[in-house]
């Protein structure tokens, strides 16, 4: 899986609610049928946080736990929306080219 794909899948999963690393990967497995490798997952989390698209979540609990549970930011939601709309456009065009009607 390409790193940008990994970032999009992580954002999609976090759009449902805050999660920590292991829970993110479990949700990705439920969504795509396979887990991300540790390098892909934590690389994606690091890059998304650096871009301000996700942030540490939680007001309660100790600092370490807050640091590990991540949530999507408003910028992350906006970015994910743009990316998914572009992907949907490509999907529709591809299915039309193949002679299949999009669901």
């Amino acid at each position: 899986m390409y790193s940008t794909d990994a970032q999009m899948v992580v954002l999609t999963v976090l759009a449902e609610g805050p999660r920590h690393g292991y829970a993110i990967n479990t949700a990705i497995e439920a969504l795509t049928g396979r887990k991300l490798g540790p390098g892909s997952l934590y690389g994606a989390l690091t890059r998304l946080e650096a871009r301000g698209l996700i942030e540490p979540a939680g007001e309660d609990g100790d600092a370490q736990e807050r640091q590990r549970t991540m949530r999507i930011t408003d910028a992350g939601r906006a970015s994910l929306r743009v990316e998914l709309e572009q992907l949907a456009k490509v999907t529709r065009a591809g299915l039309r080219a193949l002679g299949a009607e999009p669901a």
């Binding site: 887990k35 490798g37 690389g43």
Partner: protein, 236 residues
């Protein structure tokens, strides 16, 4: 140390502090099939210092500076292996950019007597042992001693001195002023250019393995230098 621990140790310090426990747990659970992805993830993150979380002020600059000295030290050992007897008075193509890069990335000593004394003490403490080893090499050279043991001792001493020089930079960065991001970027690009020149020159000397290693180090330095200031795209 377990395989998971070793793989976690490959990650940049800031990423290790933030995600090290989770990465280690996932690598241990998934087993050897997760190792290539975990190692590739560590390499990708070293190439993108602009993405590292900062767990303390200036951490990225300090780590990049030490990594740059580490890359330079490794390159010097490779160049020594490829060109055991350099021509006297001939300045190799790779030397000026490499030296300029190292100077730019060097920690700036504080202009206070107390701090300067601490830096001097650290230098003596860190470099005393490699200094003794280098003196022993000279003594061996003048004694006309030869053999595998002397050869092994020579290379072990060079590697030890390189390691201690990097340790000295890391220790000085706690006391001295760390280079700015702009200086580090310029330093990485200069070192990358120097390593490319070195790869070119060793290719002419038919040292293929050294050429490939130098070219990889050059790519690492140039990529990291570019990422250190490149604007971050806002798409996922």
């Amino acid at each position: 140390m377990s395989a998971a621990g070793l793989i976690v140790a490959l990650y940049p310090p800031a990423v290790r502090e933030r995600w090290g426990a989770e990465i280690g747990r996932e690598v241990a659970e998934a087993g050897p099939r997760s190792w290539p992805d975990a190692v590739a993830g560590a390499i990708r993150l070293w190439l993108r210092p602009g993405d590292w979380p900062e767990t303390s002020a200036g951490q990225t600059r300090r780590v990049v500076a030490v990594a740059l000295f580490g890359v330079t030290a490794a390159a010097m050992l490779l160049l020594r292996a490829a060109e055991p007897a350099p021509q006297p008075l001939a300045v190799p193509l790779w030397l000026p950019p490499l030296a300029a890069g190292v100077l730019l990335a060097a920690p700036l000593p504080p202009m206070r007597w107390r701090a300067l004394r601490v830096v001097c003490a650290e230098t003596v403490r860190t470099m005393a042992a490699p200094g003794v080893a280098v003196a022993a090499i000279f003594a061996l050279a003048y004694s006309d001693a030869t053999g595998v043991a002397v050869f092994a001792f020579y290379w072990a001493t060079l590697a030890f001195a390189a390691l201690r020089a990097c340790t000295l930079v890391a220790r000085c960065l706690r006391i001295c002023v760390a280079p700015t991001t702009r200086r580090l970027r310029a330093a990485l690009l200069l070192v990358g250019a120097g390593l490319l020149a070195g790869a070119y020159q060793t290719a002419a000397a038919t040292a293929v393995a050294v050429t490939v290693a130098l070219a990889l180090l050059a790519a690492l330095a140039l990529r990291a230098g570019h990422n250190l200031v490149s604007p971050r795209p806002d798409r996922p």
